[in-house]
């Protein structure tokens, strides 16, 4: 595991570099600007988006707060239809289970549609080490894998790359002719991947939802790669976090449109597929075996915190990333996590350790754009605050503690506060002498910003000196 100092330092270094990269900013703002327009248009079509959010939050609350019951119902319904359910406490068990299954089936080639849980447990690395050929079929993931980096965004993995960069990548890795046309680039990937679906021995997918009532998983996608991955190979393995379960099939009637609208500005995503078992008697195709892996991997730790339990309501739409000014400035790779943006900052502290990952909760202006965007009403920006508080409580930083004690003392003593204002006014005249040098006490602020000037007369003094100011004009009756 990465030592704490590295994770936060890496974040700082990468953030500084990316936020100064104007091309990056342009690419991201163009992509997300178009998204915002479509999203607002689709939200406006709802009769009552606010009530829909509340309803979705209620359903998730019910599911997460009775998770044991719904998971058991899901597993028994699925097992009754010939599906196999594997419960994994930790990521390593997922890799072992899949590798064992692949060995037992004599598999060579494994095709995958997008599964963030597999990124979380580093499944591809584990399978390749065992000698299996693993191919990502989601176009964005495919590109990111060829490029040799992790996803930039858990919904739009290759959002940061331009068509030119992708063309160069394809030229180098696949030997194709350079092109500036996104359609041609897509068709190159289509041709390569078609052959993979038709010959793969195992298909691995994620799941956006699981339905307790019917023992189904639900997969949302635009490309059709998940449909092919789950239709053609003889074995289908779905990996999902335990928090994905919903009580009823009919609950999807609200979650599918909301996921599409909040996540990508669509009324409904291209394909929303529900899979409830392997091929059944009387059906013409589909895998012979269907395995569902239920992954805990510290989710129960988050569940044990009632204050932040609603972070498990997350449907991974990515809306909070899209609207986050920090995410948009520092970019997805700076986080160094599987889940980026506000939701990533909140849950990574639970999934991978608070002290190591608390810096992500500090990297926020607490503007609350994430909370307003969340379709299931997760109180994201307050959870960032909760993480800060919990981190400080568990491992106080001595100078922060002194600073806050001094601050509290001054605020408790008006005379001191007034004196501080006066002293500050005079002291700032000396500030230019040390401005932006190592001696500057406000250097972390002034390095990239101008310090606000302290006025000679405080607002309070002004108010007392001008009794007429700001008072309502006398009423004429």
């Amino acid at each position: 595991m990465t030592p704490p100092v590295i994770a936060s330092k890496d974040f700082a270094v990468r953030s500084r570099r990316v936020s100064a990269d104007l091309t990056h900013r342009q690419v991201i703002n163009r992509a997300l600007g178009a998204y915002e327009l479509k999203r607002d248009e689709k939200i406006a079509n709802f009769q009552d988006w606010g009530a829909a959010r509340q309803a979705a939050a209620e359903v998730k609350w019910e599911a997460v707060n009775h998770l044991d019951r719904y998971l058991e119902e899901f597993a028994s319904k699925l097992e009754a239809r010939g599906g196999k359910v594997f419960w994994a406490s930790h990521g390593g068990q997922v890799c072992d289970y899949v590798a064992d299954l692949a060995k037992q089936k004599g598999a060579k080639r494994i095709v995958k549609s997008k599964a963030m849980t597999s990124e979380e447990v580093h499944l591809n690395v584990a399978l390749r080490k065992e000698g299996y050929e693993v191919v990502e079929s989601d176009l964005g993931e495919y590109i990111v894998e060829l490029a040799g980096g992790g996803p930039y965004h858990f919904v739009f993995p290759a959002m940061h790359l331009t068509r030119g960069e992708i063309s160069v990548l394809f030229e180098k890795e696949l030997g194709t002719a350079p092109t500036n046309d996104p359609e041609e680039l897509t068709m190159i990937a289509r041709r390569v991947l078609r052959q993979v679906y038709c010959t793969a021995d195992i298909g691995i997918s994620g799941a956006n939802f699981a339905i307790a009532e019917t023992g189904m998983i639900s997969i949302t996608e635009n490309e059709g790669n998940a449909r092919l991955t789950t239709a053609l190979p003889k074995v289908h393995i779905a990996i999902m976090g335990i928090e994905k379960v919903l009580p009823k099939l009919s609950d999807l009637a609200i979650f599918l449109p909301m996921l599409a609208t909040a996540g990508a500005g669509q009324a409904l995503t291209g394909y929303n597929s529900m899979i409830g078992g392997p091929r059944q008697p009387g059906e013409v195709d589909g895998p012979e075996e269907f395995h569902v892996i239920l992954l805990d991997n510290h989710r129960t730790q988050l569940l044990a915190d009632p204050e932040q339990r609603d972070a498990l309501h997350c449907i991974r739409c990515g809306a909070c990333l899209n609207v986050c000014p920090v995410y948009r400035s520092v970019g997805g790779h700076s986080y160094g996590t599987t889940y980026q943006g506000p939701i990533g900052s909140v849950i990574t502290a639970h999934l991978r350790g608070l002290q190591e990952w608390k810096h992500l909760s500090n990297a926020s202006s607490l503007c609350g754009a994430c909370t307003s965007a969340c379709p299931v009403k997760i109180d994201l920006h307050h959870h960032l605050l909760h993480n800060r508080r919990n981190a400080a409580k568990a491992q106080p930083v001595w100078w922060e503690k002194i600073a806050y004690d001094v601050f509290a003392f001054v605020m408790d003593h008006p005379a001191l506060y007034r004196l501080g204002g006066k002293l500050g006014y005079w002291a700032q005249k000396l500030h230019p002498l040390v401005l932006r040098t190592p001696l500057d006490p406000a250097r972390s602020w002034t390095a990239t910003r101008d310090a606000p000037a302290i006025a000679r007369e405080s607002f309070k003094d002004f108010w007392q000196a001008h009794p007429e100011a700001g008072r309502p004009a006398p009423r004429v009756s």
């Binding site: 209620e58 009637a253 409830g276 013409v284």
Partner: protein, 232 residues
Amino acid sequence: MSDREKILGRIRDALRVPAPRPGVHGGASLDQAEDASRRAVPDYSDWLPIVGKTFAERSALFARNAAELKAEFFVLADERELPGRLAQLAAGNGWKRIATHRGSLTGLALQGSTLPVGYTDEGYQVADMEASDAGLTECEALVAQTGSVLVSSLSSGGRALSVLPPHHVVVARASQMLADLSEAFALLKVKYGENYPSFLSFISGPSRTGDIERILVLGAHGPKRLTIFCLP
């Protein structure tokens, strides 16, 4: 102890302390939260986009949605038009082979057709289906609110037929036009009870991607075209 028991045990331990309901802060509840939780069976249709009650309204809405999704939607006045329309598509696009499943509507569509046809009903070779120019299927329902086609492994010739060939052609009846997803799930429950098909999918337009600079490209992995015929 198995991991199943371990995980369920951790969940039960974790849930001993209750979490506040959504929209409830510091013991005070917001009006909206109370309203939603008071409803025993929430009717999602009240909050989703408006859908008309008549077939004419619904099919107009479906047509608008289909146009936005770049799907082709045709309401035929007479079912006898269907074989001609399909032949036109086949000729216009130079189809050499078509894959389908046996059914009254697919049968009707192929009346008089001389194209080689592969049926999935008795099993099929993936390579043959991949080499077909079109997949012709029936469906469970059409969903007006989202312009979607609901297919299933039982109604639409299996899992792959509606996604592997580059052009997906759907034939439906006007009576299959439903308002929204809630109606579609209700229909499935009545039709199948506990015995659902192993695969269901709401298809909204041809396969698409925006993974390169968020620019829309059709035919990412699945069909590049989706044509829907609605018969009376």
